[in-house]
């Protein structure tokens, strides 16, 4: 996926979110750090362009809610969480770059309920690569990318962090034992 395709996917997802929810009222976007938050910002920008509405955007770090703390050698690195609006009663669209096992989304939903009680949580992802381990599916998908579970990995590059926009399928790096 190149920069142009990512841009079109974001625009389409923005349209779909507005269509499904009949506008931007009560809508809030929360991106999962470290890439979902940037995608959420882009979606908000598109929604502003299409609908002229300002949608609150937050960032969520799910590290403290992971189910594998203590299973890795090192404690996972943490990022910033920034949700400075009330999520109770909102239609909250959770945004992430890649949907894979679903464990990140499970952790994110656990984290979100500590912030309030959204009226609904929907999920938007740029890439769905399959291999779910939990009963979770995305409401909005940029692109479905079939992959091999153990040998491949999907890397999303975003201009804000990596200098360019691209989705690359690479060979999985083995975690050091």
């Amino acid at each position: 996926m190149d920069a142009e395709e990512i841009k079109r996917a974001v625009t389409r997802i923005a349209h779909e979110i507005l269509e499904r929810n009949k506008g931007a009222e009560r809508l809030v976007l929360v991106g999962i750090a470290n890439r979902g938050d940037h995608l959420a910002e882009r979606l908000a920008k598109e929604i502003r362009r299409i609908e002229g509405a300002e949608v609150p955007v937050g960032a969520l770090d799910i590290t403290f809610y992971r189910d594998d703390i203590g299973m890795r050698r090192e404690a996972p690195e943490v990022h910033e969480t920034r949700i400075d609006f009330d999520v109770t009663g909102a239609v909250l669209v959770l945004v992430d770059d890649v949907l894979f096992t679903g464990r990140t989304i499970r952790a994110a939903m656990d984290a979100l309920v500590d912030f309030g009680r959204p009226q609904a949580i929907q999920l938007a992802v740029l890439i769905d690569r399959g291999h779910r381990e939990l009963p979770i599916r995305a409401d909005y998908v940029g692109k479905n990318v079939p992959t091999r579970k153990d040998e491949e990995e999907v890397r999303v590059r975003l201009e804000e962090l990596d200098g360019d926009d691209a989705v690359v399928i690479g060979v999985k790096e083995r975690e050091p034992a």
């Binding site: 703390i69 203590g70 050698r73 404690a75 910033e80 309030g116």
Partner: protein, 347 residues
């Protein structure tokens, strides 16, 4: 990361930054309606306090609870220790009960280090004798970083009873490690001459130091030491070494006033000064929870089974030296040892 936290000396600059950066995230958790995350669910943290310290114990207790760990408070009064149980047997008991971390406060320098030889759990030094109080130094650095972008060239004075203060020692080592410039200020009787080997300057004139400061860190006067004639009277101490409103006016506008608590208002710090906006003393308390959460998370959030338990040494208890050569990459200068005639400074 690290298995135990015994001394500031064992940390690299990068590790200090990682601890502070992680603490930023935990400070955010402290601002939520639900100030709790499940990161350390199922882990057990024991507060083992051989000296009373309500403030430090509560801070560690809150930190562990906000990480969803189970917390056991074990204080010496009213416990098996008052029935004569030795440190080693207490340690082995806690070990047998499955403690993952032991937070220890002890009046003997080096006691937490000794503990590491008997238990598999991570040991956090919450103040040992006149040796160190590393978590206090880290929370102080965190508080300073909220106001100054870099520690490089930071000008700090630590004022008061440096001789008996483990806070002074840990904070000096930490600030110097991060590139700051520390001056220890106080009556000559309360400044150990070897303190220069911590990398600090020494001054006996507070008024001369004040105009060139970013941080003025006041230590608690321990009135119980008055008997020992370290200074003529509390009143004279207050006049010469106390931070009065006039002295604060001599400091640069943006300079901070800090104190590890508990304060003696009107002795080392004037009551009006303690309530100034630039006195960040309550911020230090708030940040202490975030920094201790960060440490517990980084030390317990990895797989403990992938770190080999320390070798058990057949060493008699309470004879540990304050220095821990096997944990410190650089050799310490000989002069680092402080006289251990009295009990420790509270931090």
């Amino acid at each position: 990361m690290i298995k135990h936290l015994l001394s500031i000396n064992q940390l690299s600059r990068e590790q200090v930054m990682r601890i502070l950066d992680t603490a930023e995230s935990f400070r955010e958790v402290g601002t939520r309606v639900i100030k709790k995350v499940p990161a350390l669910r199922g882990r057990t943290v024991v507060n083992l306090f051989y000296e009373n310290s309500t403030r430090t114990r509560i801070s560690f207790e809150l930190a562990a609870k906000r990480l969803s760990a189970d917390v056991i408070n074990f204080s010496t009064s009213g416990s098996s220790v008052s029935k004569g149980e030795s440190l080693k047997d207490t340690a082995l008991t806690l070990q047998a009960m499955g403690a993952d971390a032991i937070v220890m406060r002890h009046s003997s320098s080096g006691a937490p280090h000794t503990l590491t030889k008997w238990v598999h759990a991570s040991v956090l030094n919450a103040g040992d004798g006149t040796h160190e109080h590393p978590t206090q130094a880290l929370l102080d650095l965190f508080t300073i970083r909220e106001h100054f972008p870099s520690f490089e060239g930071l000008r700090m004075a630590i004022v008061g009873d440096v001789r008996h203060s483990r806070v002074a020692r840990s904070l000096t080592l930490a600030t110097v490690k991060m590139g700051g410039d520390v001056t220890l200020v106080g009556p000559p009787t309360l400044i150990p001459p070897q303190a220069e080997q911590w990398g600090a300057h020494i001054s006996y004139d507070l008024d001369e130091v004040l105009p060139k400061l970013d941080v003025c860190y006041m230590l608690r006067v321990q009135r119980e030491r008055q008997r020992q004639q370290y200074f003529p009277s509390v009143r004279e101490y207050s006049r010469r070494w106390g931070l009065s409103p006039a002295r604060v006016r001599a400091m640069p506008e943006e300079a901070l006033v800090m104190h590890p608590g508990p304060m003696n208002r009107g002795v080392e710090i004037a009551s009006d000064v303690a309530d100034l906006p630039r006195a960040v003393i309550t911020d230090q308390v708030t940040n202490g929870i975030a920094v201790r959460m960060s440490l517990l998370y980084l030390m317990l959030g990895g797989d403990a089974s992938k770190t080999a338990p320390q070798e058990r040494a057949a060493e008699p208890e309470r004879t540990a030296e304050p220095d821990q050569p096997e944990l410190q990459p650089e050799a310490q200068p000989e002069g680092l040892r402080l006289p251990q005639t009295e009990g420790a400074s509270r931090g």
